[in-house]
Subunit: 706 residues, 2 copies
């Protein structure tokens, strides 16, 4: 009753302030959130959002600007119907941070009619205990069937000059370091935040990407993103940095159109996750909950994967994807590799892959990824080349059948690699053949890549046409019982709930950048608040040798992380797909540290975020899905910090052995990254572990029942 | 020897006029043509062409403007090598106007080096007795691998203000009536020549399409076109109407680029067919000869097709492609047709198709085309709809299995119809499935269509990306042993030699326009000089009822042709794929006239063009490939005209029965189109037949050995 009075009073207050013609309020199940829908006098729909009685989203307009249409879907609406309902259900993900997820919300569906045009638009709000999701729906109707979106005009009006963790809005890449700044500082910092990429296109000096992490001066954490991005353009946010209002900015097609729509259709969900505790942002499953349930009936073939790969050696430049240096250009089916002189640095050769299979088999790794196995790498990049790869023809030194049989004999899977070079049509033309080749040769997972500009020219990585492609590849893969890990694709929006064969994405600045000049040492304390909101990332952690020149004397890049931090990532960066990314020689040098990678599972019974502050630290404890064991990870920003981990999550009365992989005394991401200490102790649910993390450091703990 | 002296003298004359640094001459085998290659002082390559000692192409520049490149491929060249060779071979087409084709030419290959950039470009000229073909070649080299063509700068400098038979240059359609005018008049007539189309985009008020037919005041006939258009943009011609110089104008992609090139690569051939006798233009096989030999090993499944179809009734508006009028929009896989109310006008219903199968079987037709058989026609057009058809799901009233079995029992084939609506990606995604469906259900030929704008937006019908798609569909069809008849695709360039499963194209204004307001009565006297230069057209002749309102009272269109003219088209418009396009009820009304369509073959032993004048008349005699019978066709322009046909092509000493289908006394395309007379007489090789053709009329003669 108290809650009811509270919300009434808020609404009354709002009504005093606004010129409105219709209003409707919605509360979250726990009453912490209140969302108010108001229709302004001119028929403009708006919403605002309160958390614990304080506004976190001020009055924000909703609607669309249409192309070739005198009357857009911005105003002139009346409310036809307003419907409130509740939903509470628990579902079991195929893989995840926990074995069960509760989907609990109150819903408000506002049916609007634009009287002049007799067009209907529904805005559906779902208010969870962790935040708000809403989307636009266009039911089947006479006067709104086909239409083109010039721009979506969804506002997110901030209440002040918040601190943001942002990357530049870009149609083609998210591979940027995060900048922490006030909203008012974005414009001035923008250019400096844009670092080179193989394909990139910004649109505004105050344009940023989602998931965007914000923090108010009152320590309210707000995350803006979207859920269930299907057949629609990826949403960016453009900031009015005078009024601190974000407006949606969709990714355009080749002629500047932003959405090709056909009713009945709906947009993705626009999401606002918020809390006064940063760990709630990390623990939120709202993004998944706003996606459709799993559409794959038989999921027995979907499984988490811990893998090593023929990869880091090429990324650092010590090995090569290409087989030869002889060809100025390759034409598939015409270029004769049999007579080409090998360059001697081709990593994906049969013997080398066998060594990796052996290592995987000996160390409990599920699989080995091999990049550069197929012909075409001599000129794969930067040429807008359409017929760049055929995805089925190996280099002369890569024996598909032999490796298939050898991997099988060692009970190790090989992970396929499909680099498309952005040539989307070429990939789609070969997809059936490529997936069939995988079925025939024992590959059940593929890492796909979209490096460089999307073809045909004029398209980009994040528009509706491209989004539609990534989805096509995922759904077709499901037909072939293939798991997908798409790199350079659009950032995830929880679609892995619906298509759990999407076991990974890159779509952010991954470990590779540690070999391209390095990433910020606190990068991994931001990613879980941003990129990971939509789904797991194939971040490829586990680098043990931070001095890249050890592998390639010509590469002076440094991995800005301590070794202990690298171990912690297997816990802090949740993914059902985890790579041990370093070359196996480096793992052989540090077998005691590598033991953690051997031990850590990739699927979880439950997760508890113990503490978190974006840009500064994250500490999380997770319980193995298949045993009672627990694993704790801590990643730290640039300031040395000591954490006290209370083991209250352990089962009371039971005894455990904790093995702590921590930074050494003088460890430092830059000056002393390989300094680590491992110690073990007996612990119970009452224990507290005090562990110091170095700058750019962290710790990893495995806790096994005795 | 005389020839040698002649060409020397021409070259000497040229050398006096030009500032040149290198020169080379090439003669046609019969010596009628002389082509001179000259490198200007600034290293610009040029050519000129003489016919019977008179210039028909004045000094014309050759080269390319490149994108993002300081130095284009326009000048600064020196001649590295100059190589003359000869070629003479006779090959047998799988189908055609004759059973053997001679490929006889002299060749000059000029290897140019741009000294400053060290780039190599070869220009290869082939001079036949019927004209010149030349192309650019970019061999594998270090300094020219990937490059983007901003514009091809190939000139065709006319010697005067010739008469041209032209249609507006357009990136999306060739479905225009031809305009006959002086070159200097094009600009003034251009706007009037542009009639509405579902997708169209002109680029210049003096831009015209190829094949372009020209006639000089000295009655030299010149045809400009291209051969072997593969993975390159379709070439238009832009006229400098002060100097009468045409320059190539390639069709751009979404960002304005005109060619994405990777050496080794070559352009299509640019062709100039010329003669002082117009029939030589029609008899020229230069376009085929410049294409690669047949690449399909087993061609036993490729066969000419005479067919009827469920088509004209929808074109005229009396029937409908759509099954229902109930849906404002269709979403494949979601829209439930089983409960939809049929509109009662859906032509592609099982019973109606059976009637057509019966008629085909009774009248020696090979096949029945059925359009509108598959779901999606309710909103197939004009919406930039991506997922418009799936090509495998029939309407509820179209029983695939029953019709498959029924057609088989009657020894009649069904012709598949794939309308893509320009949604190229959607079509490619479904292609394997669609072709498999055809294999499974007894279809061995497909009519494909590309009505409306090409998707994704920014692409068009004739650029490199689209050309690449049509080729992909043809080659994949060959894998499935399927014959292709592509409508609204790029106009053909002789590729059917290489891929003889390409048995037809539309790519011009076909008979459908006779139901959309009518075409010019002399249209069919132009098409063989223009559109047919590149390959056969699925013109769909055989309309017997010229008053369209008889089928659909709401359609007042008139077919601008006499009935006899319609019969003649089966001979004058060569195609291995010929439709009897009218509804079968109209054929039942005129069984005596229909007898000619029953009799006329669709594959020929030899062809003799007896007389021709573009825009005015064409008379051709062809001998059946499978018998000794001959067939003669005459189409006439707008002026009444009498032809005397000498039957000297008949075998001497043999007796024949000629059946002459001619215009009636007062026949006229407009006022009295259905007036015709049929008479028979005995003839020999010595006979001459005098036959009058009405305005928009013509005659057809079948000559059978007695």
């Amino acid at each position: 009753m108290k809650q009811f009075i509270k919300s009434i009073s808020i609404l009354s207050f709002l009504l005093l302030l606004s010129t409105w013609v219709a209003a409707q309020e919605l509360n979250s199940p726990d009453g912490n959130f209140t969302m108010d829908f108001l229709l302004l006098e001119d028929g403009t729909p708006t919403y605002q959002l309160n958390f614990k009685d304080k506004a976190i989203i001020k009055s924000s307009k909703l609607g669309f600007e249409l192309k070739d249409d005198a009357q857009s879907l911005l105003d002139g609406f009346t409310v036809l119907e307003s419907k409130i309902s509740a939903f509470d259900e628990t579902w079991k993900p195929v893989w995840g941070e926990e074995s069960e997820i509760r989907n609990h919300y109150n819903e408000l569906a506002i049916t609007l009619k634009q009287n002049e045009t007799e067009r209907i638009m529904v805005i559906r709000f779902r208010l969870f205990n962790d935040g708000l999701g809403f989307r636009y729906e266009f039911p089947q109707q006479k006067n709104l069937v086909y239409f083109v979106i010039k721009e979506e005009r969804t506002e997110f009006a901030m209440t002040g000059d918040h601190t943001a963790f942002w990357i530049p809005g870009d149609y083609d890449t998210q591979e940027y370091d995060y900048t922490e700044s006030r909203l008012s500082e974005i414009r001035g910092l923008f250019e400096g935040a844009v670092t080179p990429n193989a394909s990139q296109q910004q649109f505004s000096k105050t344009g940023v990407q989602t998931a965007l992490m914000l923090k108010t001066d009152e320590s309210i954490y707000i995350n803006l993103h979207e859920a269930a991005l299907v057949n629609y353009a990826c949403m960016h946010l453009d900031l009015d940095d005078t009024n601190f209002v974000f407006t949606s900015w969709l990714t355009p097609d080749a002629v500047g159109d932003k959405g090709q729509m056909q009713a009945p259709r709906h947009t993705p969900w626009r999401t606002i996750i918020a809390s006064d505790d940063a760990t709630d942002i990390l623990a939120s499953r709202m993004t998944y909950n706003l996606n459709e349930p799993n559409k794959i009936e038989d999921t027995s073939w979907i499984h988490p994967v811990k893998y090593i790969g023929i990869w880091w050696e090429m990324i650092t430049g010590s090995g090569s994807w290409a087989y030869t240096d002889e060809f100025p250009s390759v034409q598939l089916g015409k270029t004769d590799y049999s007579k080409a002189k090998p360059n001697g640095r081709h990593s994906a050769n049969t013997q080398h892959v066998m060594d990796y299979i052996d290592f995987a088999s000996e160390n409990g790794m599920d699989a080995v990824l091999v990049e550069g196995w197929n012909v075409g790498w001599e000129d794969w990049f930067g040429h807008h080349k359409d017929d760049v790869f055929d995805f089925v023809t190996p280099y002369p030194d890569f024996d598909v059948a032999e490796l298939r049989d050898y991997a099988k004999s060692k009970d190790v899977k090989l992970v396929m690699h499909h680099e498309t070079s952005g040539a989307v049509r070429n990939y789609e033309r070969h997809l059936d053949q490529a997936y069939t080749f995988m079925n025939d040769n024992g590959y059940d997972a593929v890492k796909s890549g979209y490096v460089g500009d999307i073809l045909p020219k004029g398209q980009n990585h994040y528009n509706q046409w491209a989004v539609n492609h990534y989805q096509f590849a995922i759904e077709k893969a499901a037909d072939y019982q293939i798991m997908v890990n798409a790199h350079e694709a659009v950032r995830p929006t929880g679609l892995a709930r619906t298509w759990p064969n999407l076991i990974g994405n890159e779509s952010a600045r991954g470990t590779e950048y540690q070999a391209f000049g390095g990433s910020k040492p606190n990068h991994v304390t931001v990613l879980p608040f941003t990129r990971l909101i939509g789904g797991p990332m194939d971040y490829t952690p586990g680098i043990f040798e931070m001095d890249v020149s050890k592998l390639n004397p010509d590469n002076q890049s440094h991995v800005n992380s301590t070794l202990a931090n690298q171990l912690a990532l297997y816990v802090t960066m949740y993914s059902p797909l985890q790579m041990a990314a370093d070359v196996i020689e480096n793992y052989k040098r540090f077998p005691d540290a590598f033991q953690f990678i051997r031990d850590v599972p990739v699927d979880w019974q439950q997760s508890q975020y113990l503490e978190a502050e974006p840009g500064h630290y994250i500490t999380v404890a997770r319980q193995d899905k298949n045993s009672g064991d627990w694993f704790v990870g801590n990643v730290n920003g640039t300031t040395e910090r000591t954490t006290t981990v209370s083991l209250g999550f352990l089962e009371k009365g039971k005894k455990y052995e904790a093995t702590i992989y921590r930074d050494g005394e003088n460890a430092h991401y830059n000056t002393n990254p390989q300094s680590y200490k491992i110690d073990s102790k007996r612990v119970t649910a009452k224990s507290k572990l005090k562990v110091r993390s170095a700058p750019g450091g962290g710790f990893a703990i495995s806790i096994k029942e005795l």
